[in-house]
């Protein structure tokens, strides 16, 4: 068992290092579940209203693709439907980041050298991070189950839903364990895990949306699909958990096998050699920022483009369904018919998209901070480069980058849908405008990050808290009746829903001005303070 020596000590080290992060990500899914249950209980108190809502959802391929179908027309079934995907994003994301942070990231930075020279087995770091994530996932499962039971929902369904969160979380922990063995850098390892997440999500989306046409096997190919296939509150299929367990065991075996064979610090994917000389254009802070950002930006843009194609395609299939189904057409008639339906689908997906693009803008802006913390900025500022020029270079890439990712989505969603309706000239421009209308709100979020970084760099991470709060306001506002003044706290709430209610310039102008003020405040603060 010498390969596992030191696991206990490493577990304590992880708990010490993550003492703030762990409770936060453990608390998020149960909190969200409570909000969702409370909303459904208050808004849909009768069985009839619950059935009505479930019918609407099941007949909307767009919603089914985004969030999956509703397994049972009850509070439990609706809660499982509404919370599963959100919980998957949080739990899987947190598991991946935790495992990679305590395995590959430690090796990459050399922190592991100190540990590894002690009585620490080769498999200890991976084992320790898997034990910690398993513990956290089980706490989430217990809290979610407890909350659901407290609302009076059936115990079996509550346990199944809670366990499905833990199962998807730990599956991704094991997957991250493998990714951490493959790549030499933590960034690439996270990228591999992220790409697999997107792939599983897409498999599930296509499988769920085309269940009637016999493509549900696609959902069976994806662990994210298994969550719904557990069918919490709808005659639970406990056997699906065996699938999770099998996948997890297989992944852990693979990860252990590789970790026992490779050198510390090395991966399976060899890094390529770089150029001996820099290209002639690499001669300014802006060029450096582009060189450092470009790969990430390309990945983000590709993700947004794929999402655009998917939404455009879904809108088309939904429209087809409405055309062939008079009952459904009647149902949506009072919203304004098929076009109004696809417009509301686009509007809903744009809401998600705005949040994700804002997350991109924060990571791009806070590159400034990581450059400073890592001490790399010293090289640049000790050369003949002003602070203003350096900071605005990264900001420019963040600002242009958010334009690029949004354009990628708008262009492809508009093109895919326009081609299917044969009216590209009409659909493409309005999709693009509706997408780009989110830019000012995203810049406000980037502005918050810049202001914090410039004025109180230690609190830069609070910008993530701000984004989280905006999303929470939107989510709660969507389901509960909340006063407009609270809703207005979120810049996303000010974004005109172009497809539904047309362009209004005022909020766009005021958001842009706000972003500008925040960025200027950050730049002024940055020029006055010490570096490092």
């Amino acid at each position: 068992m010498s390969e596992f020596s030191g696991t206990g000590a490493l577990i304590r080290l992880i708990l010490r290092r993550d003492r703030l992060l762990l409770p936060i990500w453990i608390a998020l899914p149960p909190l969200f579940v409570v909000v969702v249950v409370a909303a459904f209980v208050s808004l849909y108190p009768t069985a009839a209203s619950q059935q009505m809502l479930a019918a609407q959802i099941v007949n909307s391929p767009g919603l089914v693709a985004l969030l999956g179908p509703v397994s049972a027309p009850t509070i439990g079934g609706l809660t499982a439907w509404r919370s599963s995907i959100f919980a998957t994003v949080i739990v899987a994301g947190a598991n991946v980041l935790t495992v990679i942070r305590h395995t590959r990231a430690d090796e990459e930075t050399g922190r592991y050298e100190l540990l590894g020279s002690g009585v620490v087995g080769r498999r200890a770091p991976l084992s320790a991070s898997l034990v910690v994530t398993l513990g956290a996932d089980l706490v989430i499962a217990a809290l979610v189950t407890g909350a659901l039971v407290a609302f009076g929902l059936p115990v079996a369904g509550s346990v199944a839903l809670g366990l499905s969160f833990a199962a998807i979380g730990w599956t991704f922990a094991a997957l991250a364990g493998v990714a951490a063995q493959l790549a030499e850098s933590a960034g690439v390892a996270t990228g591999i895990a992220g790409a697999i997440f997107v792939l599983f999500y897409l498999l599930r989306a296509v499988g769920d949306a085309n269940e009637q046409s016999g493509q549900s096997w696609l959902s069976w190919m994806s662990p994210i699909g298994w969550m719904r296939l557990v069918q919490p509150f709808a005659g639970e299929r406990w056997g699906v958990f065996a699938l999770f367990l099998g996948a997890i065991i297989a992944l852990i075996v693979v990860a252990y096998t590789i970790s026992s064979r490779r050198d510390v610090g090395a991966g399976i994917l060899r890094p390529r050699l770089g150029p001996a000389r820099a290209t002639p254009w690499l001669r300014s802070p802006l060029a450096l920022a582009w060189r450092l950002h470009r790969r990430t930006l390309l990945v983000w843009a590709a993700m947004f483009a794929v999402y655009g194609v998917m939404i455009g395609y879904l809108a088309k299939t939904s429209a087809d369904l409405l055309a062939t189904n008079p009952q459904l057409a009647n149902l949506f008639a009072h919203f304004g018919g098929a076009s109004a339906y696809t417009d509301s689908l686009f509007t809903l997906s744009l809401t998600f998209l705005g949040w994700i693009a804002a997350a991109y803008a924060i990571t791009a802006t806070l590159r400034l901070q990581s450059e400073e913390v890592e001490g790399r900025v010293d090289h640049v500022l000790a050369a003949s480069v002003s602070r203003l020029r350096w900071a605005t270079s990264d900001l420019a890439i963040a600002a242009i980058g958010s334009v690029v990712v949004l354009t990628a989505f708008g262009l492809l969603a508009g093109l895919t849908y326009g081609l299917s309706t044969g009216n590209v000239g009409y659909e493409l421009p309005r999709m693009l405008v509706a997408t780009l209308a989110y830019l000012p709100a995203i810049w406000v979020v980037a502005g918050i990050a810049m202001a914090l970084y410039g004025l109180v760099p230690r609190l830069s991470f609070v910008s993530w808290g701000a984004l989280g709060a905006f999303i929470l306001v939107e989510l709660i506002g969507e389901t509960l009746q909340v006063s407009q003044s609270i809703l207005n706290l979120s810049p996303f709430n000010q974004v005109p829903k172009v497809l539904v209610s047309g362009v209004s310039l005022m909020p766009l102008v005021s958001l842009t001005l706000l972003a500008f003020v925040l960025i200027i405040a950050g730049l002024v603060g940055f020029q006055r303070r010490s570096i490092g």
């Binding site: 802070p285 050369a383 003949s384 480069v385």
Partner: protein, 299 residues
């Protein structure tokens, strides 16, 4: 002409006093050593000279300008090697050398190739794979390719092997011959001894000693071993004599520079057969200051 002038420089990190009235002057064309233990304030002083940190009080001038206000213009005329070199993991070493050189105003290709060759450096690897010594080489080559008047080097040989250290010394000597100024912080004493015209010793945020090596040697003790025909007596009672150990006709002691003459007169009475004295090394000087410091803080 002074290239760097620092008067009464004070810097706080929050409530911690990092620099407590530092005075320093570096003349044009000299190699100036800035030595002191870890945490003494060397890096803080250098980062203030680069305009990266804000001072709390005092006067600082670099190449005739204010390092905070005129940072961009001044940096065209100086090059900096940080103590802890952190590089962009995805860029290759060659890319970083070219980029940093260009940001400072341009790279002389033949000089770059020559330095890459002399430091036996492989510029094609991504920076995340470089060892400490190789990262140090990137920063050194990037600094040395620039045609600047002043080099500010923060513990530049940390992580270099002895062969590379020799190459580095050659490079500094060439730079000095070209009339350029070097400010070099270190706690590698042999390096400072070999390279520097003048030094300042900093401890706990205060300059404790400044001057040429010859000047500073007067302040330290010489260690002496002597063999006499008759056993030596009365040595340990003499003022200025320390750590006396008498073993029959052999005696070992250290002596303050000012007391040598009297001690020699005393020794001749015992008929000196063999006398060896070790010149004061920078090590002695360093240890002496730590001792003094400890003595003071104990009081």
């Amino acid at each position: 002409m002074s290239v760097i002038q620092i008067q009464n420089l004070t810097k706080y990190y929050g409530k911690t006093l990092a620099l407590d009235g530092v005075d320093l002057e570096v003349e044009q064309g000299e190699v100036f050593g800035f030595i002191g233990p870890n945490g003494a304030g060397k890096t803080t002083t250098l980062r203030i000279l680069l305009g990266l940190l804000r001072k709390n009080a005092g006067k600082v001038s670099v190449l005739g300008g204010d390092p905070w206000r005129d940072a961009v213009a001044l940096h065209r005329r100086l090059a900096y090697v940080p103590g802890d070199v952190s590089l962009w993991p995805s860029l290759s070493g060659g890319e970083v050398i070219d980029l940093l050189g260009r940001l400072r105003g341009g790279v002389d290709q033949s000089r770059r190739d020559e330095l890459v060759e002399r430091f036996k450096f492989d510029p094609t690897k991504p920076c995340r794979t470089y060892s400490t010594g190789n990262r140090q080489k990137v920063a050194l080559i990037a600094a040395l390719v620039s045609d600047v008047e002043l080099f500010i080097l923060d513990e530049p040989t940390l992580g270099l092997d002895p062969l590379m250290e020799a190459v580095f010394r050659d490079c500094v000597a060439e730079v000095k011959r070209a009339g350029k100024t070097v400010l070099l912080s270190s706690h590698i004493l042999a390096e400072v001894e070999a390279l520097c015209d003048r030094i300042s010793i900093i401890n706990a945020g205060t300059i404790v000693e400044s001057g040429t090596l010859a000047e500073l040697r007067h302040l330290t003790r010489i260690s002496v071993s002597v063999e006499t025909a008759h056993p030596v007596t009365g040595l340990s009672e003499m003022p200025g004599v320390h750590n006396t150990r008498v073993d029959g006709t052999r005696a070992h002691f250290s002596v303050d520079a000012g007391a040598i003459n009297r001690v020699m007169e005393h020794l001749t009475r015992f008929d000196v057969l063999v006398l060896t004295s070790a010149p004061p090394t920078l090590e002695d000087l360093f240890l002496r200051h730590y001792e003094l410091q400890r003595g003071e803080s104990a009081r």
